[in-house]
């Protein structure tokens, strides 16, 4: 079995796995696209090995398979950088949500305290602090 047939087999498996994950909604399409494109490219090279040789000659790469490795590494690099960007975005979104949750919980405590007329866990205040800026008096003073 030639190396190209092996590559062909692996890439078919990759496409199948990606499609399976997409069907069960475990990955979103925007992340799957890169992997499917990559697998398709490997299929093309597997079916038509001459394409690789031609491109390698054109780019001045002596051994065609090195071109394959180079392209593979570059693609992996791009995908992981994309992931870092996405993770950073997620962290910023999580952070904003966490802040808003804490602020809402505080508003809720104020509202509950005002509604029940008791100092639950918060100093006396009104349910809509933005409308009544003088609502939260210094809690320690009578």
């Amino acid at each position: 079995m030639s190396v190209y047939a092996t590559a062909l087999g692996i890439s078919f498996l990759t496409v199948a796995a990606i499609v399976f994950l997409m069907r069960s909604r475990r990955i979103r399409e925007k992340y799957a696209a890169a992997w499917i494109l990559l697998a398709v490219a490997v299929v093309v090279v597997g079916v038509f090995p001459d394409v690789l040789a031609t491109v390698a000659r054109f780019l001045g790469v002596q051994t065609p398979i090195n071109l394959l490795f180079l392209v593979g590494v570059v693609i992996l690099l791009v995908v992981s950088v994309q992931f870092s960007v996405e993770i950073s975005k997620l962290e910023e979104e999580t952070r904003t949500l966490a802040e808003e949750v804490a602020l809402l919980r505080r508003d809720l405590e104020d509202g509950l305290a005002a509604a029940t007329g008791r100092d639950a866990a918060a100093p006396p205040s009104t349910p809509t602090p933005a409308d009544a800026p003088d609502a939260d008096a210094p809690p320690d003073q009578p």
């Binding site: 952070r95 966490a98 802040e99 919980r105 505080r106 100093p123 210094p138 809690p139 003073q141």
Partner: protein
């Protein structure tokens, strides 16, 4: 033109598992508020529990201060942005950031307020090396702090000797900016926030303050960490300075103001 005097001050205390030291700080603040200490007539205290897993929240509530309980740990920058949002949305004039570990003396808060009023400053740093007290740093940490001071003094067009101090006052013009965009990166709450403020045209100044030893818990840096601090501080500085003036920041400030 001197700014209007601060009448509604919020003391924000970011606290991450500080059940040991926090009560002392809160008691001290309560004592100060009861006396003619130079604090504004309406001085409130807000503890931001940064995803604490100990009794930080309970300890603060027992003493009757307002608490923001963040569900996850966000770091000092994240805790402070939540505090700035709280202050801005509830109409406070100024925020003083105070450490929960008792290193910052609340009695220096009037000094920060006085400096803001006299010099028309929007951000006042309580600086540890400016003459008062005996706080010193050694080795790579000291070197890093010196470089940060020199560069940031230039950026802020004023002499700053301690740019990594967590004892800071933010005035009314700084609040919308910090409520919308206070960096959560490593050193974002100190170095990057100063870059952010001076780029927004805010005036920064400093007053000397004495630092005290921690009243509980463990210090967060040893010798190896100091070396890592040097590298990360430099990286944070270079990134903050090379960052383009953010349109995103302006959008967020506008959104925060529209609430």
């Amino acid at each position: 033109m001197p700014t209007d005097p601060v009448t509604r001050l919020l003391v924000v205390i970011p606290a991450w598992n500080e059940e040991l030291a926090l009560p002392g700080v809160l008691d001290e603040l309560a004592e100060l508020r009861g006396t003619a200490s130079g604090l504004p007539p309406r001085t409130d205290v807000l503890v931001v529990s940064d995803g604490s897993r100990d009794r930080t929240v309970e300890v603060a509530r027992e003493r009757g201060v307002a608490v923001l309980d963040l569900p996850i740990n966000l770091g000092v920058g994240g805790a402070m942005r939540a505090g700035f949002k709280y202050a801005y949305r509830r109409g406070y004039d100024a925020v003083v950031q105070l450490d929960a570990d008792g290193q910052h003396d609340p009695r220096a808060i009037p000094d920060l307020l006085a400096a803001a009023a006299e010099q028309d400053a929007d951000v006042v740093i309580g600086a540890r090396f400016a003459g008062a007290g005996t706080y010193t740093a050694r080795g790579p940490r000291r070197a890093a702090m010196r470089v940060l001071s020199v560069v940031l003094s230039r950026v802020a067009r004023t002499r700053l000797t301690d740019t990594t101090s967590g004892f800071k006052l933010a005035g009314s013009r700084a609040l919308p900016l910090f409520a919308a965009d206070y960096p959560a990166e490593y050193l974002g709450d100190t170095v990057e926030s100063l870059v952010l403020a001076s780029r927004a045209g805010l005036r920064i100044t400093q007053v000397p303050v004495a630092m005290r030893p921690r009243q509980g818990g463990r210090p967060s840096h040893g010798p190896l960490r100091a070396a890592i601090f040097l590298l990360r501080a430099m990286l944070a500085l270079v990134i903050a300075l090379s960052r383009p003036r953010s349109r995103q920041t302006q959008t967020r400030v506008a959104e925060e103001g529209a609430r």
